[in-house]
């Protein structure tokens, strides 16, 4: 009897050595002294294994940053930054797998299929952050738009991941800069801007300032 982890490791080893997925669960199970049933007890498909590895990476990164002492002092912006730094650091330990997985995954709208699980978790994580940010006044609450903030962050997730897969700098230092800049830009856009005040002022004057086209100075 094998554990989920063992199956996972055997699978990663297989795809990285051979460069492609096993032809069938049957073949894979046979090579690893498993029955098909045992395999299906843990995973529904090979993609399922990959998805679970991604989810584990995500959860480990998140747990790691949440356990940092400073976590509670962080603003939403900083929490997002911290998460990405930790996540990219973790990905380093599985870079070959990550590159393989992204390259061979079926492309779906918005994300590769192997990231389906991660997207749900990420959305959950960022929604909470955004709620906190709006509540603390760090982020602007804009009708129709606030609920889309998390999508902008998911786009950043894709951009950063993509940047990292192509990064040749030592210690992936450029990715660090990409994270710092990308997340900051995104949060700058979420924050209150002069346009919000202008819009607000305009609304106020329209309602109360007697600003109608017929008024003469």
């Amino acid at each position: 009897m094998k554990t989920a982890i063992e199956i996972q490791n055997a699978y990663v080893d297989y795809v990285l050595t051979k460069g492609l997925k096993p032809t069938s669960v049957y073949v894979f199970a046979k090579e690893n002294d498993l029955t098909e049933e045992e395999f299906y007890n843990f995973y529904a498909s090979f993609d399922g294994i990959e998805e679970s590895i991604w989810i584990e990476l995500f959860n480990r990164a998140l747990t790691e940053v949440q356990n940092q002492e400073v976590w509670d002092q962080y603003s939403s912006r900083e929490k997002t930054l911290a998460f990405f730094f930790a996540f990219i650091e973790l990905l380093k330990t599985k870079r070959s797998f990550v590159l393989h997985s992204l390259k061979h995954s079926k492309q779906m709208i918005g994300a590769p299929s192997v990231l389906k699980g991660v997207k749900l978790l990420f959305d959950g994580f960022t929604s909470t952050l955004i709620d906190q940010g709006v509540e603390s006044g760090e982020l602007a609450n804009r009708r129709f738009l606030t609920s889309r903030y998390k999508d902008a962050l998911w786009v950043q997730f894709g951009v950063i991941l993509n940047f990292w897969t192509k990064d040749n700098s030592s210690g992936f230092e450029k990715t660090d800069e990409a994270i710092e800049k990308g997340i900051n830009v995104t949060f700058d856009l979420f924050g209150k801007s002069p346009l919000d005040s202008l819009f607000d002022y305009g609304k106020f004057m329209m309602n109360n300032g007697g600003m109608n086209p017929n008024v003469k100075f």
Partner: protein
């Protein structure tokens, strides 16, 4: 303090920032002249102030080497109008800080641990910017520490930054392209050294050891084991920067004591070590509550080779100036007069440089010197202004070592002037033959 959230790093982004400043500066001119239409009494001070503020804003957002250049420009009070100087002085400390998670990231990269695991306490908000990094307060085993962290990618961007600072330097200093080339490569070399924290910590330890017997100086203890390529850990020194210190109305006696320590510190290095802390801006010094001078930054060290040291200090500290042919020979070896100059040029540069050396050497001519007297500085400024207007000085003159040696010594004079100190100037004397 407003926290800075992003630092533009790619070259295009940085260029955009500079271009923006350029627009703003020309905008200020337009604003100035349109205001002047209505108010002819408006003087240029206001315009200079607006320009300086915009340039400062732009430079400090860039951090890194551009901020360093701002600091450097602010040292040259004798070249820049007062308004520029006031604004640039801001850049000497209090530049906007960078955000937190990257700091933790830097730690885990170089130590494999978070700051919380290394220190007993670590303040994630920085207390000051150190131009290419920032300073955080920490504590370990009951000791208060200062932790200096460098922003990643600073080294990469220095060269491209300097290229973009050039047009501003042209405009601000009225220098020619050729002259700048010589200077910029020297500056670039020093700046790159400054990004090397491993070198800095070695030097800091060497210099504080070498200078430890000088009275009234305090050096922090450095912790090489808690330092790396991007991080320096040292003792936290309590104290005030010069400006705050002066606001407390210190007694003349105390000001003299600090001034003397400063003078001794620099002249000991110049003449005994032949290498000098070449960054004499007030942000690198603290005046401790015990009335001592704390030195907190050894990032920039200028070494003085013999072929510079001997001719230069022979000029300032012997009666060589009275002997015209020997003076000219020394000027030639310092490339202040070139072999290609004709007789009238030799005569011209001889006169102008002699005046400069005489001014520079004035504090050395007597046993004590009162740096509070304004007329000496007036003369320095006037000389600087006069020379800046001379077409003969649009071209490169003088060996490259002058940039940092001048910056060091005029920086020292300026600080002593700000302190209003009277110091004994014969404590550490140049090692050149006095008898001729």
């Amino acid at each position: 303090m407003k926290e800075q959230d992003s630092i533009p790093t790619s070259k295009t982004e940085r260029s955009a920032k500079f271009v923006k400043t350029g627009f703003k500066v020309s905008g200020n001119y337009i604003k100035h002249y349109s205001k002047k239409l209505f108010n002819p009494s408006l003087n240029r001070d206001e315009l200079n102030l607006e320009n300086a503020a915009d340039i400062y804003e732009s430079l400090s957002e860039l951090k890194g080497s551009a901020l360093k250049v701002a600091q450097m420009l602010s040292m040259d009070k004798n070249i820049l109008p007062k308004a520029y100087v006031d604004q640039f002085s801001l850049s000497q400390y209090n530049a906007p800080p960078l955000s937190g998670p990257l700091i933790i990231r830097t730690f885990s990269k170089y130590f494999g641990k978070s700051p919380a695991e290394i220190y007993d306490e670590f303040n994630i908000r920085s207390t000051n910017a150190a131009s290419i990094g920032q300073v955080h307060q920490a504590s370990l085993n009951g000791k208060k520490l200062a932790v200096k962290i460098q922003y990643p990618g600073v080294g990469d961007s220095i060269s491209s930054d300097l290229k973009m600072v050039k047009p501003f330097a042209f405009r601000l200093l009225g220098m020619s392209q050729k002259e700048l080339e010589v200077y910029m490569s020297e500056v670039e070399e020093r700046l790159l050294e400054e990004t090397d924290y491993e070198l800095e910590i070695t030097r800091s330890m060497e210099f504080s050891e070498a200078c430890k017997n000088i009275e009234n100086l305090v050096f922090p203890i450095y912790y090489p084991k808690l330092s790396s390529k991007r991080i320096i850990t040292m003792d936290w020194l309590e104290g005030q920067h010069m400006k705050e210190f002066m606001k407390t109305n210190p007694s003349q006696e105390l000001r003299n004591k600090i001034g003397q320590a400063l003078w001794d510190f620099y002249n000991f290095q110049q003449h005994e070590l032949r290498a000098v802390h070449a960054d004499p801006h007030p942000g690198n010094f603290l005046i401790t509550p015990e009335g001592k001078l704390g030195i907190i930054d050894f990032g920039c060290i200028k070494e003085m080779p013999d072929d510079f040291y001997y001719p230069f200090f022979s000029l300032t500290s012997t009666d060589m100036l009275k002997d015209k042919s020997r003076t000219i020979k020394a000027f030639k070896s310092l490339e202040m007069i070139k072999e290609s100059d004709d007789a009238s040029q030799v005569e011209f540069y001889y006169r102008v440089y002699k005046e400069m050396i005489e001014l520079f050497a004035k504090p050395y001519m007597t046993n004590t010197f009162d740096f509070s007297q304004s007329d000496f500085f007036e003369k320095l400024y006037l000389y600087g202004e006069k020379v800046a207007k001379m077409p003969e000085f649009k071209q490169a003159r003088g060996v490259k070592h002058f940039i940092y040696v001048n910056r060091t010594n005029f920086g020292l004079y300026n600080m002593l002037h700000d302190l209003g100190a009277v110091v004994k100037t014969d404590t550490w004397y140049p090692h050149v033959e006095i008898a001729v």
